[in-house]
Each structure stands twice: as C-alpha cells, then as structure tokens.
C-alpha cells in the first residue's frame, strides 16, 4: 500500500510540474472584471465627448471635419482610449503579481515570457494595422479591428496559459467581425467586447479558481 501511495504522489508531482512549467497560471479573474469596468467607463466618456447617445449611429462621422480628422474631438478621444489602455495594462500586471505571490509562483519566468511574446505579436500587428487605417482615413474600422487583433492575440497566447482564454479570444474575434459589419455601431461592439465580455470572463475565472 505504501508503494502505491508513492506512485500516486509521483503522478501528482508529474501533473503539477507539467502544468506549472508550460503555462502561465497566475491570471486573475478580478483583473478581468476591473478591466471590463474601465472599458465601459472609457466608452461612456467617448460618447459624452462626442455628444451623442448610444443609440445614435455613425459616431465616426463626428470625428471627421471636411474629410480631415477633427482637431477638437479626435485628440480627446484618443487620449481617453490611451489613458484607459495604460490603466488596464497596469491593472492586469498588478493583479497578476498579487496572485502569483498568493499562489507562491514566480510572476516573471519562462512561461510568462512565452505567453507575453505570443500575445504581443498579433497585438503589435494590430496596432500597426490601426495606424494604417487611421492614415487612410478608415476611422470606422479601427474600433472593430482592435477587437479582432485582440481576439487573435488571446487565441494565440491561450496555448501558454489557462484554457479559458481561448474562448474569450474566439468571442472577441466574433465581436470584432460583427463590429466591422455594423461599423456605425463600432463603439457599442467595442464596449461589448472589451467591457461586457471581460467582466463575464473575469467572474467565471474568479468563481472557478479563486473562490
């Protein structure tokens, strides 16, 4: 019986090491919820900057004045999104560090580097693509493009972290496609993808791993 216990422990060791050494695990559900909330706040600010309500289509036409980017509204809107992006990234990093400490795992190791590299490649491509859209004046496609590339990035990184990220990625891609189809409501789809989906995902992760 003793021998049996030993074998069982050996198998448990193997499972833990296989998972721990190949996947980045300290992703926090709470940070998903917080990031979702920041995205909703960001969208609300965007709508009030543009001075329209959420049923009004064609938000992107307000950013153009005689075919040129509006010098009054566009910089404010850009600042809104950039500030929220920085806050969201810091939230994610801070919460991951907190959770790693709690789980007694290193926060910056080979798994973290591998996950971030795989996340970064589609994201950088997406960032450049959005700059090209901006340069070509295709303003209405920028918001859904951020969803598409973010979804592809998550899908790509999901091999190196918790499995649930894969489903979030697929949902973000779908939202991005719908947002491209109904580009007049791009901001709403952006709020759905970065806001609502993150909150739902965060709650699921929280209940599954942190409760």
């Amino acid at each position: 019986m003793d021998k049996n216990q030993e074998h069982l422990e050996a198998i448990r060791d193997i499972r833990t090491l296989m998972e721990r050494s190949s996947r980045f695990l300290p992703l926090s559900g709470l940070s998903g919820i917080l990031i979702g909330v920041w995205a909703l706040v960001c969208t609300a600010i965007a709508y009030s900057l543009l001075g329209i309500s959420i049923q009004d289509p064609g938000y992107h036409t307000l950013l153009l004045e005689n075919g040129q980017l509006s010098t009054s509204k566009f910089p404010l809107l850009l600042a809104d999104f950039m500030v929220v992006l920085i806050i969201a990234l810091s939230t994610g990093m801070f919460m991951a560090m907190r959770k790693a400490k709690k789980m007694n795992l290193p926060v910056w190791d080979a798994t973290a580097r591998r996950m971030l590299t795989n996340l970064a490649i589609p994201l950088v491509a997406g960032g450049l693509y959005c700059l090209i859209l901006l340069y070509r004046g295709e303003i209405s496609l920028i918001a859904p493009a951020t969803l598409l590339f973010y979804g592809l990035a998550l899908l790509n990184a999901s091999k190196y972290t918790i499995n649930e990220m894969r489903f979030l990625g697929i949902l973000e891609i779908s939202t991005g496609l719908l947002g491209t189809l109904f580009a007049d409501f791009g901001l709403l789809f952006w709020a759905l993808g970065f806001g609502i989906l993150h909150i739902v995902y965060g709650i699921l992760i929280y209940y599954k791993y942190e409760k």
Binding site: N4, A10, I11, D13, I14, M18, S21, P106
Partner: protein, 100 residues
Amino acid sequence: MKNYIDDINKAFESRVRLGIMSILMVNDFMDFPSLKEQLQITDGNLASHLAALEKLEYISVSKQFIGKKPNTSYAATDIGRKAFSEHLNALERLISISGQ
C-alpha cells in the same frame, strides 16, 4: 502484475529525474536556471541528475552564449519521451491494479 513492475523504469525512480522529464515533455527546451526554479533543488543535485539522464540519452544538451553568459539548455530526446511514457503507463496500471 509482474511484467508491469518490469516496465517501471529504474532511471525514473528519483523524484528529481521524474521532475526533469515531466518538464521537458511539455516544453521544447528549458535552461538550467529555469529547471532549478521549477524543481527547487540545488545546482549540484540538479546537475548530477541531468548528467545521468544525458548518459542514458534521454535528454540532449545544447550550450550557447547569450551575450557573454554561457547558457545551457536541455531537451527530451525521442528515446527519453518513449521511455518516460512507458514508465507513466506502467505507474498507472500498477495503481489501478492495487486500487481494485
């Protein structure tokens, strides 16, 4: 039951070697410091088990320089992967037999 015990590979009886192989099964390669961090053991202990596995040709070693620092990384060979899978199967069968 006897032949199952024959399948238990003596090379993997040490927990450290089991750990090394587990990690290298799911990672294409891993360097010395990362292995050490995952397994939480001393340099000497890790080095001697790595040498033993290398001698059996279960793992391959590649040395390179990152800047001026030498960096040694390890990968499981096909022989090593096969031996480790057989060992795991034997373990599982043993447990399911004595569990009955």
